[in-house]
């Protein structure tokens, strides 16, 4: 059972977080733990994952007492929760205290606003019992880490012209370049190509270990930058080679926001076959629920196998190369969004030792098949950025 209390000012930030995640998808997981309250969201084609963790210190009062299940398993429809946190400026001024209480027996979240003049507003929001998708990611091992004030990037993005879907970050040790997508066709109506360069001196932190270009969804970037500006915190960008997801992160003392966006891979990956997917699901279901990191890892390692046509039956990759990452942005939404039915995810906060790294060499939460062409990238241990501890990869479509 979750019980937490916030002031009006905290409500504004909380509401902003919900608004930012509403851009990602129509559903939101409320995932409390001892560390704090996490909000998670993943879009239908699994190319964007948003995760905002409010530490217990953020709240005026925070109490989490886990019941029988480890997790709350609370999935809310954005449509039901977003209107509650509308008019944030108004809420900030008028709300003296906000209480959020969950009742898992009744599948209900009760949000109460104690406003000025003795007014009390109560919202009962029903939730779906659904396991949250938890992603583990190792930000610090990325070759390229940049930190910049969001305003600079927002200004640049405002100047980009075309109705583009994607944006490209191109880095070298000496510069950072923002590019719009390249028009393919030769006629006049193809989109305008725009680019803008920044020097390293404009960043708060600029580490480029790999000259690279990554392309990802533009729309999400705008929302994240807005949130970063509201938080008055710089935005950090972690990325590597194309295909590996980029992580946009905002770190404040009291909260931590991370958005993992799939990037376009250089080569097309093979599409996973339905047969192997079914197999993998069956495999997983037979495993008992666990919060055991070890088992979680073995589970996780099944995943690349399951989507590779080569060897669906192996549990562990014989060679690291087999589980190399090949993420691909799939824009088609999946028709089998069975998130709620895929059994438990495993959250492990423990740092993995190098020995287990061969089991976690993929970042294929963003589904792609395992591509042998990406082998050169798999050479480094711990090069996987994001690992689904819950195997959602059936959504590769």
């Amino acid at each position: 059972m979750l019980k937490c209390g916030m002031t009006g000012g905290q409500v504004k930030v909380f509401g902003k977080a919900i608004q930012t995640l509403s851009r990602v998808s129509d559903d939101l997981w409320l995932d409390p733990s001892e560390k704090g309250l996490a909000l998670r969201s993943v879009n239908s084609c699994h190319s964007t994952y948003g995760y905002i963790l409010f530490s217990s210190l953020f709240f005026q009062q925070y109490q989490w007492s886990p019941s029988a299940t480890m997790n709350l398993n609370c999935k809310l429809a954005i449509k039901s929760i977003l209107p509650i946190f509308r008019c944030l400026n108004y809420l900030e001024r008028n709300v003296e205290k906000c209480k959020i209480v969950t009742r898992s027996d009744k599948c209900r979240v009760v949000i109460q606003f104690f406003c000025r003049h003795g007014i009390k507003r109560t919202h009962n929001v029903y939730f779906q019992d659904s396991q949250p998708l938890k992603i583990l990611f190792e930000k610090s091992v990325c070759a390229n880490i940049l930190m910049i004030k969001p305003r600079l990037l927002s200004e640049a993005i405002a100047l980009l012209t075309s109705n583009q879907e994607e944006i490209t970050f191109s880095v070298t040790p000496g510069s950072f370049c923002l590019k719009s997508s390249n028009g393919e066709s030769l006629d006049l109506s193809s989109s305008v190509y725009s680019e803008m360069s920044f020097g390293p001196e404009e960043f708060d932190f600029f580490q480029v270990g790999l000259d690279t270009e990554v392309t990802f969804c533009f729309r999400e970037l705008k929302g994240i930058l807005t949130f970063s500006e509201v938080m008055h915190a710089p935005i950090s960008i972690y990325f590597d080679f194309p295909g590996k997801p980029v992580v946009l992160s905002i770190d404040d003392m009291l909260l931590e926001a991370n958005f993992i966006l799939a990037t376009l891979a250089d080569q097309p990956s093979r599409v996973s076959s339905p047969q192997s997917l079914c197999f993998s699901q069956v495999q997983r279901r037979s495993d008992p629920t666990q919060s055991n990191a070890q088992v979680g890892k073995s589970q996780a390692s099944q995943t690349p196998e399951s989507i590779s046509r080569a060897a669906p039956k192996r549990l562990f990759p014989k060679e690291p190369l087999d589980s190399s990452s090949a993420t691909e942005t799939k824009r088609v939404s999946t028709n089998q969004d069975n998130i709620s039915e895929v059994p438990e995810s495993v959250v492990s906060d423990m740092e993995e030792g190098p020995g287990l790294s061969c089991l976690r060499k993929f970042s294929c939460m963003f589904f792609g098949a395992v591509s042998s062409e990406q082998q050169e990238h798999a050479g480094h241990p711990l090069d996987s950025l994001a690992t689904a501890s819950d195997s959602e990869e059936d959504a590769s479509g």
Binding site: L152, L186, V192, Y193, S194, E201, E202
Partner: protein, 276 residues
Amino acid sequence: MRFRARITSKSVLELFIQVSGTVTKLAKVCVLRVCPDRLCFCPTGLPGEARLWGEVKRGVFHHFCMEGVSEEFNEIYLELMSEHLARAVKNAGSASSLKLQLTNKLRPCLTVVVELPSCPGHTRAMVHDLPVKVLPRRWWKECTEPRVWASDVSVYLPSLKTLKNMVERMANVGDRVLVEANLNGKMNLSVETDVVTIKSYFKNLGNPPKAVTGATQGEDPENMVQVRVDNRKLLLFFEGQQINPTVALCNILSNTLLHLVLVHDGVSLQYFIPAS
């Protein structure tokens, strides 16, 4: 073929943004005609045979150099999407400079470079490559400067903002607005339906020197010359004008044509609306 031009003056930059904004409101496709002494905007495909013509004289550019198709035909005609240009320059209001250059990056492009001040001491450049089509000479006759007919009356316009407000309100009432003016500096705008007529009277506007008009000596200056035009077209034009130009006048050819002329600092915009 070469073209490179740069604007550094803030006021010219704003005018340039305004012209490209107006062009994009009225037409999807625009031909940029690069001449030795000026840059012309010639949007094509305006509905109902209306014509828009914009000119930016060479003198207002900080830097302007061009080399046409050949010595004999020393011009370049570039066809592009109006929206591309308008969007590329839209946020350049605070730029320190705007550069236009004809380039070839896999295909012919008009490269627009907007230079913005970033942290003190640095400038940041936003580069846009607008796809263009270089028009062959046989298509040049489609984009000639519109001929200015000798008009029956010519009068200076009142404040554009006022005009816009009037036309906006009239647009709610009827489709067409009647514009009339006389040589005594009077101008009327009116809209009429079965149940109501709304008329605005402007006076003391002044008339441009007689030489501009084709009016003969014997005519009564109080005589109103009128033309009825589609008010949506009029409104689209006025919506784009943010800055009050140095010279704003209209020429009316009785029951045939309304010709609006806005001139500011070497940048001019002319709009020809046929009677409807």
